[in-house]
């Protein structure tokens, strides 16, 4: 028996596999057993009812999809009254994701979401198509610090900050979020992208820009998780391009406590639970008793060097 459970701060997850916000809903209960997941993560909610962006909202490219949904939803009141209970029927901890364009409202929303059935507030401060100082706070250290400080003061629930891969220096943003009191970091949201159709010269997405989602991004996000893990003391949830059990292992070796999965669940609706099964087998076959033994276990401090190269480095 492999112990797959992980603790993210005070939140106990039966395994390190979570869905990614916006790429999942309780409706997936039609095809898999949601009680098997490490956590349930709801789609980002805003205060006001929103229709979202114009269609088309998704386009395929050579190396993945780009999408721009625009945070549609029925608003915070409907969410708390109707959506939270949909998730509360299941056992795994419930992570709700929230976004706003103003710091005050972000804090107020976090307070209003602090109802008993909610276990974690994930702050989507990195929606790629929102603007730098309003919504997409994670591009700048000061903005990250201000918004996370306000949220921290507004709620006693664990708060996770979802960071942007579009920031110039994600490590300093991560440190700012930790200093402001974030309990964990979700790394990362999608990469801002563009596709132009050559048949009609128009942008392929109704919103022009979209977030790129692809397994091709995994090495980039993995690098970010690795760099951030060296500089912060709070847990990290790695999100980006996970499609198989080894990807989970890689993220954990780089320092993540858990992973979030979006795309793989679109491609294979049963992927999330298959990845849990495969992870257990992977650990079992290698005699790894606790999956947490993998966290940060990358062997990078005694890198071997060719003698000639070593000499040129003065070693």
């Amino acid at each position: 028996m492999v112990d797959l459970s992980v603790k993210i701060g005070d939140v106990i997850c039966q395994n390190p596999i979570q869905p990614a916000s916006g790429a999942f809903s309780w409706e997936y209960n039609d095809v898999i057993d949601l009680n098997r997941l490490g956590a349930l993560v709801a789609k980002t909610i805003c205060r006001e009812p929103r229709l979202g962006n114009p269609t088309p909202r998704m386009a395929e490219t050579e190396a993945g999809i780009i999408q721009s949904i625009g945070l549609p939803g029925k608003g915070i009141d409907y969410f708390v009254e109707n959506i939270v209970p949909e998730y509360a029927r299941f056992k795994p901890p419930l992570v709700v994701s929230v976004s706003s364009e103003s710091i005050e409202d972000f804090a107020a929303l976090s307070r209003e979401l602090s109802v008993p059935d909610v276990d974690v507030i994930e702050c989507n401060i990195s929606c790629p198509t929102r603007n730098t100082s309003g919504g997409n706070f994670a591009l700048q250290e000061e903005h990250t610090k201000e918004v996370m400080t306000a949220i921290r003061e507004a709620t006693d629930k664990p708060v996770w900050a979802k960071l942007s891969p579009n920031a110039g220096d994600i490590v300093s943003i991560a440190v700012a979020a930790e200093e402001a009191g974030a309990d964990a970091l979700v790394i990362a949201n999608t990469f801002l992208s563009l596709k132009i159709r050559t048949d009609n010269f128009r942008p392929a997405l109704g919103n022009k820009f979209g977030g790129m989602v692809s397994p091709a991004l995994k090495p980039i996000v993995l690098r970010m998780v690795y760099q951030v893990a060296k500089e912060v003391n709070i847990p990290i949830i790695g999100v980006g391009g996970v499609t198989k059990a080894e990807d989970v292992v890689e993220y954990m070796l780089a320092g993540a406590h858990a992973v979030g999965i979006g795309y793989a669940g679109f491609r294979n609706p049963t992927a999330l639970t298959t990845i849990i099964d495969d992870l257990e087998i992977w650990c079992d076959e290698r005699g790894i008793e606790r999956v947490t033994d993998l966290i940060g276990a990358v062997k990078d401090d005694d890198m071997e060097m060719d003698p000639l190269v070593a000499a040129s480095h003065g070693v």
Binding site: V31, E246, F266, P269, A271, D277
Partner: protein, 290 residues
């Protein structure tokens, strides 16, 4: 469950050939099906027949499957393709799709041959629903829209409901499923662009005639915005209810991602709905078209 230890043996952790549906008790499944046949029906359309597990056979008219199409060219096809079920043969344990080989996904689907496997997920969405009060219905489809309306006509015939099928296409050779409609005893009317009979004004006359003759207790359509508008207008003025099957670029198929939105108007107010979850079949009068 698999006994193969994943160790970069697979490009992803997904259901593998030989593995059963992991959640037989859930209404929707992801399955590896076997291709029975995949043949051309004319220059543009193919018919795929799959041997599928029991749960897939619960699909009814208007519901769809989400198909993981292989690549036609060596590069990746990233997203599944939605396809409405064309026929369910319960005794043979088979499901069928009638599809147009158009872009990369459907071209890739076209490369599959008998003996290949094909990953499909479904049944998904809310399909057609027949009111017991309807004795005669009219289905109006253009192009591959007929793929969606054929099983509805079958369902109607099984319930003793009379069907008039108006089959619209660019040219006669592309009119599909005529035999299927005739086989269930439907009256069929072919209209094509080449002789102008598919013009909205002509189709309007045909529909008005059917209404007058008591052959139109309900309207059904799919595949053309123009024909939808026409049926809406006539349906409204003559009090004929109707249903339309809608299409939109789709990602998850479960209602989670909010990609496949269309505009609807309910009691004077416009709203967006998910084609995959609230549809793909909707009240005709509420659809705003595209």
């Amino acid at each position: 469950m698999t006994n193969l230890a994943p160790n970069e043996k697979y490009t992803n952790s997904a259901i593998r050939p030989g593995e059963p549906d992991p959640y037989p008790q859930k209404p929707v499944g992801e399955y590896i099906t076997d291709v029975v046949s995949n043949n051309w029906v004319n220059d543009e359309y193919k018919l795929m027949v799959l041997k599928a597990p029991e749960k897939a056979l619960t699909a009814y008219a208007g519901q769809f499957f989400h198909l993981l199409c292989p690549s036609p060219d060596g590069a990746e096809v990233w997203m599944r393709r939605p396809m409405s079920v064309y026929n369910v043969d319960k005794s043979a344990g088979q499901i069928e799709f009638l599809y147009k080989c158009e872009g990369r996904g459907t071209k890739g689907m076209g490369t599959l041959e008998a003996g290949d496997t094909f990953n499909v997920s479904g049944p998904l969405g809310i399909g057609f629903n027949l009111d017991p009060a309807w004795k005669n219905i009219v289905v109006l489809g253009r192009g591959v829209g007929l793929a969606t309306l054929a099983p509805l006509s079958l369902m109607a015939a099984e319930n003793g409901v009379g069907v008039t099928a108006i089959l619209s296409a660019r040219k006669t050779e592309l009119v599909m499923s005529e035999d299927l409609f005739k086989g269930i005893g439907a009256a069929t009317i072919k209209v094509v662009d080449t002789d102008g009979s598919s013009d909205v004004s002509n189709v309007e006359k045909i529909l008005e005639g059917l209404i007058l003759n008591g052959k139109a207790d309900a309207f059904f359509t799919c595949g053309s915005s123009r024909l939808l508008k026409l049926m809406q207008t006539l349906g409204k003025s003559h009090g004929v209810p109707g249903q339309v099957a809608m299409e939109q670029i789709m990602v998850c198929g479960f209602g989670a991602c909010y990609v496949c939105m269309r505009t609807f108007e309910v009691d004077g107010a416009q709203t967006l709905r998910r084609v995959c979850r609230e549809g793909p079949v909707f009240n005709m009068q509420e659809a705003v078209g595209w």
